[in-house]
């Protein structure tokens, strides 16, 4: 057995017999290791700084209020196919922290995740769903269909996407969702961005994630709809249309500068990504806060990297959480202060301590 200095009084003899000399050596190492360990596990000092206390104080005030007495918070989930599963990680952190979310808008994969969240599906479930994502999810893709697509120009069907959404949230209409939600698709014949905020949610989600060039356009009210990522990669306006005053956007753009596509589908993805990035430059300016998980190198078909994308979402959002809270508080100050002259800002509980 090897001596285990780091375990201090807990160094148990594990397997094999020690001769007396080795035991003596081990004990001595244990002694100095205990000192080292004590140095490593320093007693933490809780944060009672003015910033920490004031942040917690204002946060309790903010989240204890009905939305009519504070700014309405909108969450925007960008397009990004496999990369956009990072939104699940972002949602996990926001929910963990008790961040208020009063409206959700999404495009493409952002619409799928946003619809499920707005319908009240737990983040844990979103995590499970995303973890099981594969190329055939949301489509009728198989080897035969892929050959058909390549050789006979026969587009795939995204029926499965609608079926999947319906299996998760049922036949809910937009007005039945617990959190107001909107998503965006594009009319392939007019180039218009089509904003969905009424009617059947599953159909709208399918249209929003209907990748052009791969899936047949979705026919809906005399329009032929494809993925909204082409015209509205980061649907800030959709969130505004739901009344959001302070908008947090989770963005999962591609790093197309480093991508060198070699296939037809890869090229198509690259074009959509570049177009999306160009369009989103202005949209970024209109959000109050951005969280950008570093998932730019994950390709549209790399579903094996979904766990990595979600983990990156968690890490990025966790890092951004405090600044996001402070940003929202500063934005909300006037709304909060309006009540301070008349009533105590008592808040029962909630938020991080």
């Amino acid at each position: 057995m090897k001596s285990s200095p780091l375990y201090g009084r807990n160094c148990p003899p594990q397997g094999g017999q020690l001769d007396s000399r080795r035991l003596a050596a081990s004990r001595m190492v244990c002694l100095f290791a205990a000192c080292l360990l004590a140095a490593q596990a320093a007693w933490a000092a809780p944060d009672y700084s003015p910033d920490a206390l004031l942040r917690a104080h204002l946060w309790r005030d903010l989240i204890s209020r009905p939305v009519s007495r504070r700014p309405k918070v909108g969450l925007v989930l960008s397009a990004g196919s496999t990369r956009a599963t990072a939104h699940v990680g972002v949602l996990q952190i926001l929910e963990q922290a008790g961040f208020p979310i009063d409206a959700v808008a999404g495009t493409s994969m952002g619409a799928v995740i946003g619809a499920m969240y707005a319908a009240g599906r737990p983040v844990k479930r979103l995590w499970e769903v995303a973890a099981n994502l594969n190329l055939a999810s949301g489509s009728n893709m198989n080897s035969f269909r892929l050959i058909e697509l390549m050789l006979a120009d026969k587009l795939l069907s995204s029926d499965n996407a609608e079926r999947f959404t319906r299996s998760e949230i049922g036949g809910l209409r937009f007005d039945q969702l617990p959190i107001p939600f909107a998503c965006v698709a594009m009319d392939i014949y007019t180039g218009e961005a089509i904003l969905f905020h009424e009617g059947d949610v599953a159909t709208a989600v399918r249209a929003s994630m209907n990748l052009p060039g791969v899936f047949k356009p979705v026919e809906y009210r005399q329009r032929y709809l494809v993925d909204g990522g082409v015209v509205d990669y980061i649907p800030i306006d959709a969130a505004r249309s739901l009344g959001a005053e302070w908008v947090l956007a989770s963005i999962t753009e591609s790093d197309y500068h480093s991508a060198r596509p070699t296939s037809v589908l890869g090229m198509l993805e690259q074009v959509i990504d570049i177009r999306g990035a160009v369009l989103s430059r202005e949209q970024r300016q209109r959000a109050q806060f951005l969280i950008e998980p570093p998932v730019g190198d994950i390709g549209i078909y790399e579903t094996g990297r979904v766990p990595e994308a979600m983990a990156k979402g968690v890490i990025a959002a966790n890092k951004a959480l405090k600044p996001a809270m402070e940003n929202l508080l500063l934005f909300s100050l006037e709304a909060l202060a309006r009540d301070w002259g008349t009533a105590p800002a008592a808040a029962p509980s909630g938020g991080r301590p």
């Binding site: 007693w43 003015p50 910033d51 309790r60 968690v314 966790n318 500063l330 301070w340």
Partner: protein, 316 residues
Amino acid sequence: MSRVPAALLGALLAAAVPARAQWNSGLETIKLLQKQFNQGRYNEVIAQLDSASLLKLRDENLRVGYVLLGASYEKTGQLDQSLSFYQVGVRLFPRDKDLLARLAALLHQAGLEEQAQPLFEKLVLIDPHNAQGHLGLAQIDRALGFLDRSSVHYEKTLETWPERGDIWQEYGEELGEARDYRTAELALRRALALAPEKTDIILDLALVLRAMGRTDEALTELAEPVRSGRPGALRARALWLLEEGRGEESKAAVEALSSVAPKDPVALYVRARLELKAGRLAQAQGFLRQAAAASPEASFTARVCAALAAWAGRQR
């Protein structure tokens, strides 16, 4: 016994004698070095265990040699050297829990979580009950935001080290971040029972109780730190009383805070809030301006107070 096997046996025995002697001499060296280490004579350990001496050691002695050398460099603040020797040690003894734990802890302390994490994972793979591995993973997961996973690792750590108050405290804080306040309270009370002299645990407990809305209990917990004049506790008391609408008590708390920290921005903020409540906008604005000026530039407190001062000015 025929001649050939006897000769072979003789040769083997003859070869073993110097090897045994060398091992014994190595053990003596290690014993001496450990004694020096325990006496804090780290530079002597380093001087004696230069690479040439290290190479003379074998097996367990060599392993302990790497530990001693790495730890001595660590103790003398030469962390890069320490890192190098731990790395070589881990390469030579890839399944050694001690060296793995030391290398991982050093990387973790340096904030190199991506390098530390796989080493801690390897530790718990080799030994599923390895407390050091679980503690490292708990801390890394907590820092990255994976609070569920972090809780599991803290629990595993505490199975091995149930008497470690510092880890119960960390676990309680982590549960507080995850808003599992009830369990956080239990963990912190356990930490306090193990280390009643640690005021920081009381401060943690007060934060958790306040987050649960049990303000009176939180204030009771703060009583001792308040009595000993800790500015943080005095600040929290003033703010929490304000939140509860207990204006007079809040005012008294501010007086106490100001006597310890005359320009404390939170004291000035609370004064401003009390003036706002009384409808005295000009006075409120004055206090808010002072609070902004008293806070580090661009800090959250400075920005909040400056924005509120501007707002109060517009309301006048």
